[in-house]
Symmetry: C2
């Protein structure tokens, strides 16, 4: 019997999962490896962190998504080492040889060596991060209600967000919704005026990946919602009590959220392919690692340029690369030339919250309700599970009709 070509995929994020699904009905044997048994729908993490959605709704069992992919095996395992020379992935559950390898291991949070950041800042990259952040925020409100010392109470009620990109902005907006909607009802003895949300941006405008006018709109909108936006503010230190900026400015804050700095998360390897400063792997236009033609790299781990700029690391990029890499592997199997990847940019949206968003679609810049609504609609459509899609829709209707965020649990295992 002819032995099937084996494609091993490391990582079941947007790119890896899509690659597996695109290889579903081909003559290959696919092994998809992830350390979790679920796919995390990362764009909605901030809603879990702000008690709007249940964590389970954005964690979809991977085996659910592969039920119709009969040539695909899922392996829940930690990747311990990749040996490019002998084409072998060593995992906690055994060694897996490959003919082709798709590296889709995603990113990890980068703290840039800022003192205290690793220990005290709350990142928001994984589901566990989101649950931890939710626990922290609700915990601080619980503590604040009984705190008689004014300064301490103010500190408990201050949340500083480091990073004015899409994640920082959507977190700030969602926290406004949480405070206005639920916490006032929950803590009638707290003065909502004491709650302070600070958004710290090192550069001179928000949402640098969008046009300056959209960044300015976002700035005005967040200020109007009561968020204290501080531009040109570089974080130098983080502690359990607050965050330090340049020029010895100290902001007391019980919660410091880290929404900057994603670096490529290359698994431990026998040799390191050429990497960029952000730990991403430089790939050929075909998405092959230049040193290893049977290794493809996609998603956050790949450094790919589009119009002379590196891709931003959003889901549509990874999804398109997942489809593309599956096709390139099939081309190779049929002895054809590999094609170069090119990203088709359908536009980009960012949500602010409180019925506002910004976006650019083709030549059109959008602000206000329309991009807000489109953001939610697009993400609902992209969520890869009907049941969760319905439950999320209901959660949103409930939240917006009743002005309430319902998953305000301090739940630790």
């Amino acid at each position: 019997m002819h032995k099937k070509t084996r494609v091993v995929i490391v990582g079941a994020g947007f790119g890896g999962l899509q690659a597996a699904q695109s290889l579903a009905h081909t003559e290959t044997e696919v092994i998809l490896i992830d350390r979790h048994n679920y796919h995390t729908f990362v764009p909605l993490l901030y809603q879990v962190a702000t008690a709007g959605l249940s964590p389970d709704l954005i964690a979809i069992p991977i085996r659910n998504l592969l039920r119709h992919s009969l040539n695909t095996k899922f392996l829940k395992a930690e990747v311990e080492q990749i040996d490019f020379a002998v084409k072998l992935v060593k995992t906690s559950e055994g060694e897996i040889p490959y003919d082709f390898l798709i590296l889709a291991a995603g990113s990890r949070t980068q703290f840039f060596g800022i003192p205290g950041a690793t220990d005290y800042a709350f990142p928001l990259r994984t589901l566990t991060d989101a649950i931890n952040l939710r626990n922290q925020i609700i915990h601080c409100f619980e503590k604040a209600e009984g705190e008689l010392d004014d300064a301490k109470r103010q500190q408990l009620l201050t949340i500083a967000i480091v990073g004015g990109g899409a994640t920082g902005v959507e977190l700030a907006g969602a926290l406004v919704e949480l405070v206005l909607g639920s916490l006032q009802k929950d803590y009638p003895r707290l003065n909502p005026q004491e709650v302070k949300l600070i958004l710290l941006q090192s550069g001179e405008r928000l949402l640098v990946e969008f046009a300056p006018s959209l960044g300015k709109y976002t700035y005005r909108k967040l200020r109007q919602l009561g968020v204290q936006v501080m531009l040109n503010s570089k974080v130098c230190q983080v502690s359990a009590d607050g965050v330090g900026l340049q020029d010895d400015v100290w902001l007391p804050a019980a919660t410091v959220i880290w929404s900057v700095g994603l670096a490529g998360a290359l698994p431990n390897s026998s040799a390191t392919p050429t990497q960029t400063r952000k730990g991403k792997i430089k790939v050929l236009p075909s998405l092959q690692a230049s040193e290893y033609p049977e290794v493809f790299v996609i998603g956050d781990l790949a450094h790919i340029e589009h119009n002379q700029k590196p891709l931003a690391g959003v889901a549509p990029e990874a999804l398109q690369q997942g489809v593309f890499v599956a096709r390139n592997i099939q081309r190779r199997l049929r002895g054809k030339e590999l094609k170069p990847f090119s990203y088709f940019n359908k536009g980009r949206l960012a949500i602010i919250g409180c019925y506002s968003g910004v976006g650019k679609i083709g030549a059109f810049k959008l602000t206000g309700f329309l991009p807000w609504f489109m953001w939610l609609a697009v993400h609902l459509v992209y969520l890869p599970d009907w049941r969760n899609r319905l439950l999320i829709l209901l959660s949103w209707l409930h939240a917006y009709i009743l002005g309430d965020r319902s998953v305000r649990l301090i739940l630790s295992t």
Copy 2:
């Protein structure tokens, strides 16, 4: 200004929460203390453990439930000591003096000193227990798929449930649903015949709190569903590999679930009121602790007899006691005589799963579909939150229409 009478309630389970709600519009000041910021809807824990429901759906933020109780404060704190002599509850968040105390601290799992039980058996009393059990079950299936050794794989696929009461029976049934519905689809390479569910009962019949005929029906039904029911089987040892019975019988099982043995969970106290063998406090017919007339004890922590038998520790008992104790405190405040508690038994239902249940309502014994349906309907009605009620209903419809249990996550924080 006249100082209000302060009622402190320890525990926000069914009894404590109901007492707080019943005291809502009275001339008292109520402080409700719990270590969690959510109320756990315990009857549905087994569905969380078997991946049918999201944990968040049965954890309802306590402050949600107290929004209309303006005289009630919630305090998230650990109770460190109760000083009955000076009427003081010492908590992790400070000392709270009381005029009346309602002890509704519930129960804890009892392992009866059986070697290994504390370390290796999975209890099912808290939300964390349920999540841990879910993680364990799915983890074992993941491991089993890659396990080539037949004996080891068989062990990974064996779940032993210790205790043939309502919890053990409903767990066994729900596990059948999980295995038949989802796991076959998820693990096409596993032989479902290898999955082994064992229900161990020390006595000679299941569901001892029901009539013998209902226990026999349950026995037949579970056997028919493929559960290996072992009566007269006393557990002598638990290890990571299995469970040991009397007469040196050893059953290899990667998962041992502990669904027996609840004891009253009296917080650390200055003096110990008279307790029963199960750690429950003996109360007067008025539900007062006999030594301390200003202390009332309700729910699982109270030893109350009904028709010469102790109450069983189900939710309706605690709910009725919560209402009753609020009224007795008001009677005392108005200088009236306290009344004796009497339980109004509306009947009792137990769910087996796979469209079967048993029940006794008045003189009627029920088996089959009707008590199954009633069990689900009654619990949906008693769930104290509209949003969660709707989402649970949808989860059930999804599960029963598609034969699927969707929350199959291994999610640890």
